[in-house]
Protein backbone atom coordinates (compact mmCIF):
# COMPACT_ATOMS: atom_id res chain seq x y z
CA UNK A 1 0.00 0.00 0.00
CA UNK A 2 2.65 2.49 1.14
CA UNK A 3 4.78 1.50 -1.85
CA UNK A 4 2.22 2.79 -4.31
CA UNK A 5 1.33 5.94 -2.41
CA UNK A 6 3.72 8.31 -4.26
CA UNK A 7 2.74 6.85 -7.62
CA UNK A 8 -0.91 7.28 -6.75
CA UNK A 9 -0.43 10.94 -5.76
CA UNK A 10 1.54 11.75 -8.89
CA UNK A 11 -0.89 9.99 -11.22
CA UNK A 12 -3.74 11.86 -9.56
CA UNK A 13 -1.81 15.12 -10.01
CA UNK A 14 -1.24 14.42 -13.71
CA UNK A 15 -4.82 13.32 -14.35
CA UNK A 16 -6.25 16.39 -12.63
CA UNK A 17 -3.94 18.61 -14.65
CA UNK A 18 -4.65 16.94 -17.99
CA UNK A 19 -8.42 16.66 -17.61
CA UNK A 20 -8.84 19.98 -15.86
CA UNK A 21 -10.78 21.65 -18.69
CA UNK A 22 -13.32 18.81 -18.80
CA UNK A 23 -13.95 18.62 -15.07
CA UNK A 24 -17.11 20.16 -13.61
CA UNK A 25 -15.19 22.73 -11.59
CA UNK A 26 -15.78 26.47 -11.34
CA UNK A 27 -12.66 28.05 -9.83
CA UNK A 28 -13.86 31.60 -10.55
CA UNK A 29 -17.44 31.26 -9.37
CA UNK A 30 -18.11 33.54 -6.41
CA UNK A 31 -20.68 32.92 -3.73
CA UNK A 32 -20.72 35.95 -1.49
CA UNK A 33 -22.68 34.37 1.35
CA UNK A 34 -20.09 31.60 1.71
CA UNK A 35 -16.96 33.74 2.15
CA UNK A 36 -14.30 32.00 4.29
CA UNK A 37 -16.70 29.16 5.09
CA UNK A 38 -15.01 26.12 6.63
CA UNK A 39 -14.98 22.73 4.89
CA UNK A 40 -18.33 20.94 4.84
CA UNK A 41 -19.98 18.00 3.12
CA UNK A 42 -21.02 20.14 0.14
CA UNK A 43 -17.64 21.84 -0.31
CA UNK A 44 -14.92 19.50 0.95
CA UNK A 45 -12.29 22.16 1.39
CA UNK A 46 -14.51 25.14 2.14
CA UNK A 47 -14.53 28.58 0.49
CA UNK A 48 -11.87 31.28 0.17
CA UNK A 49 -11.86 34.99 0.96
CA UNK A 50 -13.91 35.83 -2.13
CA UNK A 51 -16.34 32.94 -1.72
CA UNK A 52 -14.76 30.63 -4.29
CA UNK A 53 -14.62 26.86 -3.84
CA UNK A 54 -11.15 25.94 -2.53
CA UNK A 55 -11.21 22.40 -3.94
CA UNK A 56 -11.95 23.72 -7.43
CA UNK A 57 -9.12 26.21 -7.14
CA UNK A 58 -6.82 23.53 -5.80
CA UNK A 59 -7.49 21.44 -8.91
CA UNK A 60 -6.73 24.41 -11.12
CA UNK A 61 -3.55 24.99 -9.13
CA UNK A 62 -2.57 21.36 -9.78
CA UNK A 63 -2.67 22.10 -13.47
CA UNK A 64 -0.51 25.26 -13.16
CA UNK A 65 2.18 23.45 -11.22
CA UNK A 66 2.04 20.38 -13.47
CA UNK A 67 2.47 22.27 -16.74
CA UNK A 68 5.16 24.56 -15.38
CA UNK A 69 7.07 21.56 -14.03
CA UNK A 70 6.71 19.66 -17.29
CA UNK A 71 7.87 22.56 -19.44
CA UNK A 72 10.70 23.72 -17.24
CA UNK A 73 12.12 20.27 -16.65
CA UNK A 74 11.88 19.28 -20.33
CA UNK A 75 13.35 22.55 -21.57
CA UNK A 76 16.22 22.65 -19.12
CA UNK A 77 16.90 18.93 -19.49
CA UNK A 78 17.17 19.10 -23.28
CA UNK A 79 19.08 22.38 -23.28
CA UNK A 80 21.43 21.38 -20.47
CA UNK A 81 22.13 17.90 -21.80
CA UNK A 82 22.92 19.09 -25.30
CA UNK A 83 25.14 21.91 -24.09
CA UNK A 84 26.93 19.70 -21.58
CA UNK A 85 27.44 16.73 -23.89
CA UNK A 86 28.61 18.74 -26.91
CA UNK A 87 30.83 20.94 -24.79
CA UNK A 88 32.62 17.95 -23.28
CA UNK A 89 32.84 16.09 -26.58
CA UNK A 90 34.17 18.97 -28.66
CA UNK A 91 36.40 20.33 -25.89
CA UNK A 92 38.83 23.15 -26.61
CA UNK A 93 37.93 26.80 -26.22
CA UNK A 94 34.21 26.07 -26.57
CA UNK A 95 34.31 23.86 -23.50
CA UNK A 96 36.23 26.53 -21.64
CA UNK A 97 33.60 29.15 -22.44
CA UNK A 98 30.75 26.84 -21.42
CA UNK A 99 32.43 25.96 -18.13
CA UNK A 100 32.91 29.64 -17.37
CA UNK A 101 29.28 30.42 -18.14
CA UNK A 102 28.14 27.56 -15.93
CA UNK A 103 30.36 28.80 -13.10
CA UNK A 104 28.77 32.22 -13.35
CA UNK A 105 25.27 30.76 -13.13
CA UNK A 106 26.28 28.54 -10.24
CA UNK A 107 27.55 31.55 -8.34
CA UNK A 108 23.98 32.70 -7.83
CA UNK A 109 22.40 31.31 -4.71
CA UNK A 110 19.40 29.04 -5.23
CA UNK A 111 16.22 30.57 -6.47
CA UNK A 112 17.54 34.15 -6.33
CA UNK A 113 18.31 34.47 -10.04
CA UNK A 114 14.87 33.13 -10.95
CA UNK A 115 13.21 35.64 -8.63
CA UNK A 116 15.18 38.50 -10.14
CA UNK A 117 14.58 37.33 -13.72
CA UNK A 118 10.87 36.73 -13.22
CA UNK A 119 10.60 40.05 -11.42
CA UNK A 120 12.24 41.98 -14.22
CA UNK A 121 10.46 40.19 -17.06
CA UNK A 122 7.16 40.78 -15.32
CA UNK A 123 4.64 38.29 -14.01
CA UNK A 124 3.00 35.58 -16.11
CA UNK A 125 3.38 31.89 -16.81
CA UNK A 126 5.59 32.20 -19.90
CA UNK A 127 8.09 34.41 -18.13
CA UNK A 128 8.02 32.06 -15.17
CA UNK A 129 8.87 29.07 -17.37
CA UNK A 130 11.61 31.07 -19.07
CA UNK A 131 13.13 32.25 -15.78
CA UNK A 132 13.12 28.79 -14.20
CA UNK A 133 14.56 27.15 -17.33
CA UNK A 134 17.33 29.74 -17.53
CA UNK A 135 18.32 28.77 -14.01
CA UNK A 136 17.59 25.06 -14.36
CA UNK A 137 19.70 24.02 -17.35
CA UNK A 138 23.02 24.47 -15.54
CA UNK A 139 22.58 21.44 -13.28
CA UNK A 140 21.87 19.11 -16.20
CA UNK A 141 24.67 20.60 -18.28
CA UNK A 142 27.18 20.05 -15.53
CA UNK A 143 26.07 16.46 -15.04
CA UNK A 144 26.00 15.69 -18.78
CA UNK A 145 29.42 17.25 -19.22
CA UNK A 146 31.00 15.24 -16.41
CA UNK A 147 29.47 11.99 -17.67
CA UNK A 148 30.49 12.67 -21.26
CA UNK A 149 34.06 13.36 -20.23
CA UNK A 150 34.30 9.87 -18.75
CA UNK A 151 32.43 8.28 -21.67
CA UNK A 152 34.77 9.94 -24.15
CA UNK A 153 37.51 7.39 -23.44
CA UNK A 154 35.25 4.34 -23.73
CA UNK A 155 36.06 1.80 -26.41
CA UNK A 156 32.79 2.01 -28.28
CA UNK A 157 33.15 5.76 -28.69
CA UNK A 158 36.73 5.41 -29.85
CA UNK A 159 35.61 2.72 -32.27
CA UNK A 160 32.86 4.92 -33.65
CA UNK A 161 35.35 7.70 -34.17
CA UNK A 162 37.80 5.34 -35.87
CA UNK A 163 35.02 4.31 -38.22
CA UNK A 164 34.70 7.94 -39.24
CA UNK A 165 31.46 8.88 -37.52
CA UNK A 166 30.79 12.62 -37.29
CA UNK A 167 30.52 14.62 -34.06
CA UNK A 168 26.76 14.79 -34.21
CA UNK A 169 26.38 11.06 -34.78
CA UNK A 170 28.75 10.14 -31.95
CA UNK A 171 27.07 12.44 -29.43
CA UNK A 172 23.51 11.47 -30.34
CA UNK A 173 23.95 7.74 -30.93
CA UNK A 174 26.86 6.75 -28.73
CA UNK A 175 26.96 9.19 -25.82
CA UNK A 176 23.47 10.52 -25.11
CA UNK A 177 21.85 7.06 -24.70
CA UNK A 178 24.33 6.25 -21.93
CA UNK A 179 23.66 9.50 -20.09
CA UNK A 180 20.10 8.40 -19.46
CA UNK A 181 20.13 7.03 -15.93
CA UNK A 182 21.81 9.85 -14.00
CA UNK A 183 19.91 12.48 -15.97
CA UNK A 184 16.56 10.83 -15.31
CA UNK A 185 17.30 10.79 -11.59
CA UNK A 186 18.37 14.44 -11.69
CA UNK A 187 15.23 15.33 -13.65
CA UNK A 188 13.01 13.57 -11.12
CA UNK A 189 14.38 15.64 -8.29
CA UNK A 190 14.18 18.58 -10.68
CA UNK A 191 10.40 18.21 -10.79
CA UNK A 192 10.25 18.63 -7.01
CA UNK A 193 12.33 21.77 -7.02
CA UNK A 194 10.43 23.30 -9.94
CA UNK A 195 7.08 22.66 -8.23
CA UNK A 196 8.40 24.42 -5.12
CA UNK A 197 9.93 27.21 -7.20
CA UNK A 198 6.72 27.81 -9.15
CA UNK A 199 4.71 28.00 -5.95
CA UNK A 200 7.39 30.18 -4.35
CA UNK A 201 7.41 32.68 -7.22
CA UNK A 202 3.61 32.72 -7.32
CA UNK A 203 3.71 33.24 -3.55
CA UNK A 204 5.77 36.37 -4.20
CA UNK A 205 3.27 37.44 -6.85
CA UNK A 206 5.70 36.79 -9.71
CA UNK A 207 4.11 33.71 -11.24
CA UNK A 208 0.54 32.79 -12.01
CA UNK A 209 -1.69 35.87 -11.98
CA UNK A 210 -5.13 36.31 -10.44
CA UNK A 211 -7.81 35.18 -10.96
CA UNK A 212 -6.07 32.01 -12.10
CA UNK A 213 -5.10 29.79 -9.19
CA UNK A 214 -1.69 28.50 -8.19
CA UNK A 215 -0.92 26.73 -4.94
CA UNK A 216 1.62 29.45 -4.18
CA UNK A 217 -0.75 32.37 -4.71
CA UNK A 218 -3.50 30.53 -2.79
CA UNK A 219 -1.07 30.25 0.12
CA UNK A 220 -0.20 33.92 -0.06
CA UNK A 221 -3.82 35.08 -0.19
CA UNK A 222 -4.88 32.54 2.41
CA UNK A 223 -2.22 33.50 4.94
CA UNK A 224 -3.95 36.85 5.44
CA UNK A 225 -7.03 35.07 6.76
CA UNK A 226 -5.13 32.39 8.61
CA UNK A 227 -6.70 32.86 12.02
CA UNK A 228 -10.29 32.89 10.77
CA UNK A 229 -9.90 30.30 8.04
CA UNK A 230 -6.87 28.06 8.52
CA UNK A 231 -8.13 25.72 5.78
CA UNK A 232 -7.06 28.33 3.21
CA UNK A 233 -3.44 27.77 4.22
CA UNK A 234 -3.59 24.09 5.06
CA UNK A 235 -5.19 22.86 1.81
CA UNK A 236 -2.75 24.25 -0.81
CA UNK A 237 0.25 23.60 1.44
CA UNK A 238 -0.81 19.99 1.93
CA UNK A 239 -1.22 19.54 -1.83
CA UNK A 240 2.27 20.95 -2.40
CA UNK A 241 3.78 18.80 0.32
CA UNK A 242 2.16 15.62 -1.01
CA UNK A 243 3.36 16.19 -4.57
CA UNK A 244 6.90 17.18 -3.57
CA UNK A 245 7.17 14.35 -1.05
CA UNK A 246 5.98 11.82 -3.63
CA UNK A 247 8.46 13.06 -6.22
CA UNK A 248 11.30 12.86 -3.70
CA UNK A 249 10.30 9.36 -2.59
CA UNK A 250 10.14 8.24 -6.19
CA UNK A 251 13.47 9.88 -6.94
CA UNK A 252 15.13 8.07 -4.03
CA UNK A 253 13.70 4.78 -5.25
CA UNK A 254 14.80 5.42 -8.84
CA UNK A 255 18.28 6.27 -7.68
CA UNK A 256 18.53 3.03 -5.73
CA UNK A 257 17.40 1.05 -8.74
CA UNK A 258 19.26 2.78 -11.56
CA UNK A 259 22.42 3.93 -9.90
CA UNK A 260 24.92 1.12 -9.53
CA UNK A 261 27.22 3.14 -7.35
CA UNK A 262 24.76 3.99 -4.61
CA UNK A 263 23.48 0.41 -4.68
CA UNK A 264 26.91 -0.80 -3.77
CA UNK A 265 27.08 1.73 -0.94
CA UNK A 266 23.78 0.70 0.52
CA UNK A 267 24.82 -2.89 0.89
Amino acid sequence: MWRYFPVFILVLWAILALTQTYLPISPYHIELDKILQAPSSSAWLGYDELGRDVLDRLIQGASSSFWVALWVVSLSLVMGTLIGAFSAWLGGWLDLVVVHIMDIFLAFPGILLAIALAGILGPGLNNLVFALSMVGWVGYARLARAQTLSLKQREHVQAARALGAGNRRIVFRHILPLLGAPLIIEATFGIASVVIAEAGLSFLGLGVQAPEASWGSMLRDGSRYMLMAPHLVIAPGMALLLVVLSVNLLGDRLRDQLDVKSQAQNR
Binding site: I101, F108, P109, A116, L117, I120, L204, G237, L241, V244
Partner: protein, 292 residues
Protein backbone atom coordinates in the same frame (compact mmCIF):
# COMPACT_ATOMS: atom_id res chain seq x y z
CA UNK B 1 33.33 37.62 -9.83
CA UNK B 2 33.41 39.84 -12.90
CA UNK B 3 31.16 37.35 -14.69
CA UNK B 4 28.56 37.60 -11.95
CA UNK B 5 28.66 41.38 -12.06
CA UNK B 6 28.27 41.32 -15.84
CA UNK B 7 25.36 38.88 -15.77
CA UNK B 8 23.56 41.03 -13.20
CA UNK B 9 24.22 44.08 -15.35
CA UNK B 10 22.91 42.37 -18.51
CA UNK B 11 19.91 41.02 -16.63
CA UNK B 12 18.65 44.53 -16.09
CA UNK B 13 19.65 46.04 -19.42
CA UNK B 14 18.63 43.49 -22.00
CA UNK B 15 15.18 43.03 -20.60
CA UNK B 16 12.37 45.08 -22.17
CA UNK B 17 10.90 47.91 -20.14
CA UNK B 18 12.20 51.42 -19.80
CA UNK B 19 13.26 52.73 -16.39
CA UNK B 20 12.70 56.27 -17.59
CA UNK B 21 9.06 55.50 -18.20
CA UNK B 22 8.77 54.10 -14.69
CA UNK B 23 10.31 57.23 -13.18
CA UNK B 24 8.32 59.81 -15.10
CA UNK B 25 5.10 57.99 -15.76
CA UNK B 26 3.57 57.27 -19.13
CA UNK B 27 2.28 60.78 -19.75
CA UNK B 28 5.73 62.43 -19.69
CA UNK B 29 6.90 64.67 -22.53
CA UNK B 30 9.36 63.19 -25.01
CA UNK B 31 11.86 65.99 -24.36
CA UNK B 32 11.77 65.34 -20.62
CA UNK B 33 12.36 61.67 -21.21
CA UNK B 34 15.36 62.36 -23.41
CA UNK B 35 16.80 64.73 -20.82
CA UNK B 36 16.46 62.20 -18.03
CA UNK B 37 17.87 59.45 -20.22
CA UNK B 38 20.91 61.58 -20.88
CA UNK B 39 21.28 62.45 -17.22
CA UNK B 40 21.23 58.76 -16.31
CA UNK B 41 23.63 57.85 -19.10
CA UNK B 42 21.11 55.47 -20.63
CA UNK B 43 21.72 56.89 -24.12
CA UNK B 44 25.28 55.57 -24.12
CA UNK B 45 26.22 52.31 -25.85
CA UNK B 46 25.84 49.18 -23.74
CA UNK B 47 29.55 48.62 -23.37
CA UNK B 48 30.14 52.19 -22.13
CA UNK B 49 27.35 51.77 -19.61
CA UNK B 50 28.88 48.50 -18.46
CA UNK B 51 32.32 50.07 -18.03
CA UNK B 52 30.77 52.95 -16.09
CA UNK B 53 28.92 50.46 -13.92
CA UNK B 54 32.10 48.51 -13.12
CA UNK B 55 33.96 51.72 -12.32
CA UNK B 56 31.24 52.93 -9.99
CA UNK B 57 31.03 49.54 -8.37
CA UNK B 58 34.75 49.50 -7.68
CA UNK B 59 34.29 52.74 -5.77
CA UNK B 60 31.44 51.32 -3.76
CA UNK B 61 28.87 53.39 -5.64
CA UNK B 62 25.77 51.31 -6.35
CA UNK B 63 23.74 54.19 -7.74
CA UNK B 64 20.50 55.70 -6.49
CA UNK B 65 17.18 54.10 -5.81
CA UNK B 66 14.62 55.17 -8.44
CA UNK B 67 11.92 55.10 -5.82
CA UNK B 68 13.31 56.87 -2.77
CA UNK B 69 16.31 58.59 -4.43
CA UNK B 70 18.42 57.33 -1.53
CA UNK B 71 21.95 56.01 -2.04
CA UNK B 72 21.61 52.28 -2.63
CA UNK B 73 24.85 51.53 -0.81
CA UNK B 74 23.38 52.92 2.40
CA UNK B 75 20.12 50.98 1.94
CA UNK B 76 22.08 47.76 1.44
CA UNK B 77 24.41 48.51 4.34
CA UNK B 78 21.35 48.88 6.51
CA UNK B 79 19.67 45.68 5.29
CA UNK B 80 22.58 43.28 4.83
CA UNK B 81 23.25 42.68 8.56
CA UNK B 82 19.66 41.54 9.06
CA UNK B 83 20.04 38.93 6.31
CA UNK B 84 23.33 37.70 7.74
CA UNK B 85 21.79 37.48 11.17
CA UNK B 86 18.94 35.38 9.79
CA UNK B 87 21.27 33.16 7.77
CA UNK B 88 23.55 32.55 10.75
CA UNK B 89 20.63 31.77 13.05
CA UNK B 90 19.20 29.34 10.47
CA UNK B 91 22.58 27.70 10.08
CA UNK B 92 22.73 27.25 13.83
CA UNK B 93 19.22 25.75 13.87
CA UNK B 94 20.16 23.40 11.03
CA UNK B 95 23.34 22.15 12.68
CA UNK B 96 21.71 21.75 16.09
CA UNK B 97 18.93 19.63 14.58
CA UNK B 98 20.94 17.76 11.97
CA UNK B 99 23.98 16.59 13.95
CA UNK B 100 22.14 14.63 16.65
CA UNK B 101 19.53 13.39 14.18
CA UNK B 102 22.05 12.13 11.64
CA UNK B 103 24.36 10.65 14.26
CA UNK B 104 21.49 8.92 15.97
CA UNK B 105 20.23 7.48 12.69
CA UNK B 106 23.68 6.20 11.78
CA UNK B 107 24.27 4.77 15.24
CA UNK B 108 20.95 2.91 15.25
CA UNK B 109 21.10 2.11 11.55
CA UNK B 110 18.27 0.03 10.08
CA UNK B 111 16.15 0.27 13.19
CA UNK B 112 12.82 2.00 13.52
CA UNK B 113 14.69 5.06 14.92
CA UNK B 114 16.75 5.30 11.78
CA UNK B 115 13.65 5.12 9.61
CA UNK B 116 11.83 7.68 11.74
CA UNK B 117 14.60 10.24 11.63
CA UNK B 118 15.14 9.76 7.91
CA UNK B 119 11.39 10.02 7.32
CA UNK B 120 11.46 13.24 9.28
CA UNK B 121 14.32 14.48 7.16
CA UNK B 122 12.50 13.60 3.92
CA UNK B 123 9.55 15.59 5.21
CA UNK B 124 11.89 18.48 6.00
CA UNK B 125 13.27 18.51 2.46
CA UNK B 126 9.81 18.39 0.94
CA UNK B 127 8.04 21.04 2.98
CA UNK B 128 8.18 24.43 1.24
CA UNK B 129 9.34 27.21 3.57
CA UNK B 130 6.48 29.47 2.51
CA UNK B 131 4.11 26.89 3.95
CA UNK B 132 6.12 26.04 7.04
CA UNK B 133 6.41 29.76 7.87
CA UNK B 134 2.67 30.50 7.97
CA UNK B 135 2.03 27.23 9.86
CA UNK B 136 4.57 28.19 12.52
CA UNK B 137 3.04 31.66 12.77
CA UNK B 138 -0.42 30.13 13.08
CA UNK B 139 0.63 27.79 15.86
CA UNK B 140 3.23 29.68 17.89
CA UNK B 141 2.11 33.26 17.36
CA UNK B 142 -1.62 33.20 16.84
CA UNK B 143 -2.79 30.16 18.83
CA UNK B 144 -0.19 30.09 21.59
CA UNK B 145 0.87 33.72 21.46
CA UNK B 146 4.45 32.87 22.43
CA UNK B 147 6.39 34.51 19.64
CA UNK B 148 5.97 37.65 17.55
CA UNK B 149 4.39 37.32 14.11
CA UNK B 150 6.90 39.48 12.26
CA UNK B 151 9.48 42.23 12.48
CA UNK B 152 12.93 42.35 14.02
CA UNK B 153 12.32 44.32 17.22
CA UNK B 154 12.96 41.70 19.88
CA UNK B 155 15.32 38.76 20.18
CA UNK B 156 12.49 36.23 20.09
CA UNK B 157 11.46 37.54 16.67
CA UNK B 158 14.26 35.64 14.99
CA UNK B 159 13.22 32.20 16.27
CA UNK B 160 10.40 31.50 13.81
CA UNK B 161 12.17 32.81 10.68
CA UNK B 162 15.32 30.88 11.58
CA UNK B 163 13.31 27.70 12.14
CA UNK B 164 11.49 28.21 8.83
CA UNK B 165 14.67 28.73 6.87
CA UNK B 166 16.79 26.21 8.76
CA UNK B 167 14.52 23.17 8.49
CA UNK B 168 15.29 22.25 4.88
CA UNK B 169 19.01 22.61 5.48
CA UNK B 170 18.72 20.56 8.65
CA UNK B 171 17.02 17.77 6.70
CA UNK B 172 19.67 17.68 3.98
CA UNK B 173 22.47 17.86 6.53
CA UNK B 174 21.02 15.07 8.63
CA UNK B 175 21.00 12.74 5.63
CA UNK B 176 24.55 13.74 4.83
CA UNK B 177 25.76 13.19 8.40
CA UNK B 178 24.15 9.76 8.44
CA UNK B 179 25.56 8.72 5.07
CA UNK B 180 29.12 9.83 5.78
CA UNK B 181 29.09 8.39 9.29
CA UNK B 182 27.87 5.03 7.98
CA UNK B 183 30.65 4.94 5.47
CA UNK B 184 33.26 5.77 8.09
CA UNK B 185 31.94 3.32 10.68
CA UNK B 186 32.79 0.53 8.24
CA UNK B 187 36.44 1.57 8.05
CA UNK B 188 39.19 -0.55 9.48
CA UNK B 189 40.44 2.02 11.95
CA UNK B 190 37.02 2.14 13.59
CA UNK B 191 37.19 -1.61 14.12
CA UNK B 192 40.67 -1.14 15.55
CA UNK B 193 39.42 1.55 17.91
CA UNK B 194 36.59 -0.67 19.08
CA UNK B 195 38.93 -3.63 19.44
CA UNK B 196 41.17 -1.50 21.65
CA UNK B 197 38.23 -1.38 24.02
CA UNK B 198 37.43 2.29 23.58
CA UNK B 199 33.92 3.26 24.55
CA UNK B 200 31.27 3.78 21.87
CA UNK B 201 31.19 7.50 22.68
CA UNK B 202 34.88 7.99 22.13
CA UNK B 203 34.79 6.04 18.88
CA UNK B 204 31.82 8.01 17.63
CA UNK B 205 33.04 11.46 18.58
CA UNK B 206 36.80 11.26 18.33
CA UNK B 207 37.28 8.84 15.49
CA UNK B 208 34.18 8.95 13.35
CA UNK B 209 32.75 12.46 13.64
CA UNK B 210 36.02 14.19 12.88
CA UNK B 211 36.21 12.50 9.52
CA UNK B 212 32.52 12.79 8.84
CA UNK B 213 32.88 16.55 9.30
CA UNK B 214 34.59 16.88 5.91
CA UNK B 215 31.82 15.95 3.49
CA UNK B 216 29.32 17.61 5.79
CA UNK B 217 31.22 20.90 5.61
CA UNK B 218 31.26 20.70 1.82
CA UNK B 219 27.52 20.21 1.67
CA UNK B 220 27.06 22.98 4.19
CA UNK B 221 28.97 25.43 2.01
CA UNK B 222 27.05 24.44 -1.11
CA UNK B 223 23.70 24.57 0.61
CA UNK B 224 24.30 28.04 1.97
CA UNK B 225 23.40 29.28 -1.50
CA UNK B 226 19.99 27.70 -1.25
CA UNK B 227 19.74 29.17 2.23
CA UNK B 228 20.42 32.70 0.98
CA UNK B 229 17.92 32.20 -1.86
CA UNK B 230 15.31 30.86 0.53
CA UNK B 231 15.94 33.83 2.78
CA UNK B 232 14.16 36.01 0.21
CA UNK B 233 10.86 34.21 0.73
CA UNK B 234 11.34 33.81 4.47
CA UNK B 235 12.03 37.51 4.87
CA UNK B 236 8.80 38.28 3.04
CA UNK B 237 6.75 35.95 5.24
CA UNK B 238 8.04 37.46 8.44
CA UNK B 239 8.56 41.05 7.21
CA UNK B 240 12.21 40.62 8.15
CA UNK B 241 13.99 43.79 6.98
CA UNK B 242 16.83 42.14 5.07
CA UNK B 243 18.15 42.25 1.51
CA UNK B 244 15.60 39.68 0.29
CA UNK B 245 12.77 41.85 1.52
CA UNK B 246 14.38 44.81 -0.19
CA UNK B 247 14.67 42.82 -3.43
CA UNK B 248 11.00 41.88 -3.63
CA UNK B 249 9.97 45.39 -2.65
CA UNK B 250 12.21 46.80 -5.37
CA UNK B 251 10.78 44.36 -7.95
CA UNK B 252 7.27 45.46 -7.12
CA UNK B 253 8.23 49.13 -7.48
CA UNK B 254 10.25 48.44 -10.65
CA UNK B 255 13.22 49.99 -8.91
CA UNK B 256 15.79 48.37 -11.22
CA UNK B 257 19.05 49.72 -9.76
CA UNK B 258 17.97 48.46 -6.34
CA UNK B 259 17.03 45.04 -7.79
CA UNK B 260 20.43 44.91 -9.43
CA UNK B 261 22.26 45.82 -6.25
CA UNK B 262 20.32 43.37 -4.05
CA UNK B 263 20.94 40.43 -6.36
CA UNK B 264 24.58 41.39 -6.65
CA UNK B 265 25.10 41.69 -2.91
CA UNK B 266 23.53 38.33 -2.09
CA UNK B 267 25.52 36.62 -4.86
CA UNK B 268 28.79 38.18 -3.77
CA UNK B 269 28.11 37.13 -0.19
CA UNK B 270 27.58 33.59 -1.46
CA UNK B 271 30.87 33.60 -3.34
CA UNK B 272 32.70 34.89 -0.28
CA UNK B 273 31.07 32.27 1.93
CA UNK B 274 32.19 29.55 -0.45
CA UNK B 275 35.75 30.79 -0.22
CA UNK B 276 35.46 30.76 3.56
CA UNK B 277 34.20 27.18 3.43
CA UNK B 278 37.38 26.20 1.65
CA UNK B 279 39.36 27.79 4.48
CA UNK B 280 37.36 25.95 7.13
CA UNK B 281 37.98 22.79 5.17
CA UNK B 282 41.72 23.24 5.51
CA UNK B 283 41.27 23.97 9.17
CA UNK B 284 39.55 20.69 10.02
CA UNK B 285 41.53 18.50 7.67
CA UNK B 286 45.24 18.69 8.36
CA UNK B 287 45.89 16.84 5.10
CA UNK B 288 44.79 19.86 3.09
CA UNK B 289 47.02 22.88 3.05
CA UNK B 290 45.87 25.70 0.83
CA UNK B 291 49.31 27.19 0.36
CA UNK B 292 50.69 24.12 -1.36
Amino acid sequence: MLGVVTLVFLLIHIVPGDPVEVMLGESAQIADREALRQALGLDQPLFTQWWQYIQNLAQGDLGQSLHSRAEISSIIAERLPATFELALASLLVAVVIALPLGMFAAWKVNTIWDRLSMGFSLLGVSIPNFWLGPLLILFFSLYLGWLPVSGRESFSAIILPALTLGTALAAILARMVRASLLEILNEDYIRTARAKGLSEQVVLWKHAMRNAALPVTTILGLQLGALLGGAVITEIIFSWPGVGYTLVEAIQRRDYPLVQASVLMVSLSYIIINRLTDLVYALIDPRIRLAE
